[in-house]
Amino acid sequence: MNQLNLPILSLLIFSPLIGVLFILFCGRKSHTMIRNIAMASSLGTLVISCVILYTFKSHTSLMQFEENVPWIAQWGVNYHLGLDGISVLLVFLTALLTPICILSSWNYISKRVKEFHIFFLMLETAMLGAFLALDLVLFYVFWEAMLIPMYFIIGVWGGPRRIYAAIKFFLFTFVGSVFMLLAIMTLYFIHKDITGVASFDLMEISKIIVAPHLQMWLFAAFGLAFAIKVPMFPFHTWLPDAHVEAPTPGSVILAGVLLKMGTYGFMRFAMPLFPYAVMEYMPYISALAVIGIIYGALVAMVQPDMKKLVAYSSVSHLGFVMLGLFALNAQGVQGALLQMINHGFSTGALFLIVGMLYERRHTRMIADYGGIAKVTPMLFVFFLVVTLSSIGLPGLNGFVGEVLIMVGAWSNQFMDRSIYFTIAAATGVILAAIYMLWMFQRVMYGPVKNEKNQNLEDLSPREIAVLAPMILFIVWIGVYSQPFMKTMEASVRDFNVQIEARFKASLTVPKGVKAIVISAPQQQLPAEEKVTE
């Protein structure tokens, strides 16, 4: 079993559904009741995730809290869950953002409250499941199951063009995933033919290494699904629509968690399984990442709409994550992983603040604001911290991640001329400063031009409660990132070792053979750490 002797991951995944069950029995009109139940249920999930984080052993890269029972025995599909340094923080992020989103929707969602909370909790279940699944089919089921609730959240509670945005979101993601499904099946049969074991289990399938030419195809299929989700340039077009139309909690969860699903998918599945293809595609993916960084920043700069600006800034930030990830060294990958968390906090907080402004003035246009700083001093402070975090000011979280990514990308030893990529990416940081500060300046400073802005209310205690945890982590990671780095260190080290070993192994696959069985490299425990039970 595991260190807690409990199926704690299943408990974590399905705890939101307990809330759903209770909400189902609530009356349609009892809004407060529904909100309280949703809040309680998501806080319960958060508590479970804290327990997991607390008992998580950071010195090993092995899967922890594993649960593995056959699900569809005939096909070799297992209900296999597990957690390691790569997923643990993402799981925590998901569990933390959900109650924040529910709290932020307190006034914002006033129609169809019951349905909203049901979908939101279902979404949480699917997200947690996708981060914890170690079986390809199980992962795919959770991955796809996220679509339906998100589709409803955008389509029912979204802005004027919500239907278009919801369908676009659904179709884009679906197109990518169906190819991944075929790739999963192909991989399954290659594995079955060579080992005689029918299994979709990632741990089983990792025991073989596929021939280089097949890797190129399979990686492309997996990569398309993940690249759309990240989103990488040029697959990003669904993102601005979805973000702008989604209600605030939807945007927060979309930016905070759903986008990470793509980068996580690369880390967990596509990259370890197809290392040869990773090396081959590396220059192209890095180039697309850099294009995404600069393009996203440039487009963000000219947006008159705050939400759209933040949406495009996501394209830019996720470009950094991809760049760091494909550097394949300790700094790059750690930076990417940390930046995934950072982006969840800072962009999530940005969307929350934009949402709060929207609730007050019912406009998101930058031009409608100006001089708010004097009217709403609390909002000003929060907005300032978040803006600076998004830019990457030293002392706040964005800085740590970006620096690590830059260092990693600079010293990428698998790619020629990686320096140029890094330099190009660095311009993205400068651009980020321009578009964020410029927006901040236009919204916050100057005279109050618009009469309606004269009497804006400052943050309510509820809104402070929504933003405070985000600010806490933004500062914490910026000042003392050690605990966060420590959780991922072993896993990231092992990730890089595995990829290199598997890359070498894929070169040894003889011609005309689809795959070979490899022995997994030994997991190395650092000498100074003592294994404590």
């Binding site: 096909w75 089919v137 589709y151 389509g155 239907i163 099946m185």
Partner: protein, 495 residues
Amino acid sequence: MPSLSDIQFYLPVSMDFVMIIPQLAILAFMLGILLLDLLFSDDETRSTAAIAVLGLACAGFYSLRVLWGSSSYAFNHLLLIDNYGLFFNALFCGGAILAVLISARYIEREGMALGEYYVILLGAVLGMMIMASAGSLITVFVGIETLSISLYALAGFNREKPVSGEAAIKYLLLGSFATGFLLYGIALIYGTTGSFDIITIGDHIKAHGGPDKVMLLGAVLILIGFSFKASLAPFHMWAPDVYQGAPTPIAGFMSTAAKAAAFAVLFRVLSIAMPGLHKHWHALLYVIAIITMIIGNLSALGQGNIKRMLAYSSIAHAGYLVIAILAAGRGEALGAQSILFYLIAYTLMNMGAFGVLSALARRNQNNETVDSFAGIGYRHPAYAAAMTLFLVSLAGVPPTAGFFGKFYIFLSAVRADMIPLAIIGVLNAVVSVFYYLRVVVAMYMQEPGEEIERDKILWWPAALAIGISAAGIIAMGLLPGRFINLAASAILSGI
């Protein structure tokens, strides 16, 4: 030519009758209802419905529980009694039970409450059972005709509605034409192989190596006849008009159970009688699969009427099933199993969708359009939730039966090295998402237009049928293992 003295006369023994108890049960209930109906008052069809459900349940139960596992012949190879046929018996009965439950209120409301409705419905089931167990081309023909004639009558059952009559006439004309093809094909095959028995035909074709042209022509004509019944493009033209005009529960029944019957007989004949011609029919069906999926899905995109949209979608689903047949033809057991698994899933989700349609319908109202579903999500939350589940399942999104159905089929296609076909298949699934979601969009995301009067009375049998379908879809989506076992054991014996 065999002389008269060569012909052996076969006298049925009691064992033959034991083997066809499900069919006999249906027949007995058919006749029983016909008689009892005279005793009931004119508008009393609910008791008739209850009796029909009882009969169907008996036949299905007997097939699955008592006869299950037998592998024998009845009536001198006219019928093959194996798990494959028994599985389909149960599937038809299940589909028909759902159809009866949905019909019970529908036919009263539409003013066509006649006991004969159920008699004919049972007749259709009888025809399907004969088709699925057919061991000879003659029985195939008898089964298809029994089914078709029943369906012609059912399609036009709503005598007051001109569209219903139109549907019946169209179906009758085109259907008889297709039957002509089938009959001609059977004749040519008989002429070249000297037998109606599908096993003998299979052996003959294998033994005599390369097929001659007449035999090929015969096989193609038979295939055309089946393709019509299964609504495969380019023989699908009748389906949208007929489904739209037919009473809604009947449209659901035709698109599920009747289609399942067509696939049952198609697959059996292909795999027993025509493995020797595999190269030829493989090529033919490969093309048919592609155009069926594409035509079905692209045509569904533009439909404003949900029944019509579901008709085109059912054409597309037939295309996916052909992929499974192709995989099975290449010797993949997965392919054969996936046909059965998919048919269970498809029956549940499509009957469910038609069930919601008929539950929400009202007499003489145009309430089958996508637009008329605007805002249903908040006015009829339970129905809308069920409809969403059915549509999402039809689109193949997990965790539903439809997902694992498609998963199974594409798994078999990948195994059979038909990756291009699988890619075309999944892309079609993506297209289909668009039109299924359109209904969901209308139900939840659009403000209702003018209030459309809908049936306010919750008639529990219809709700029960919808509930069964929904529960089945979720069960198959969360724990498909049992159903995979069922499909696998139905394939193991027999074929």
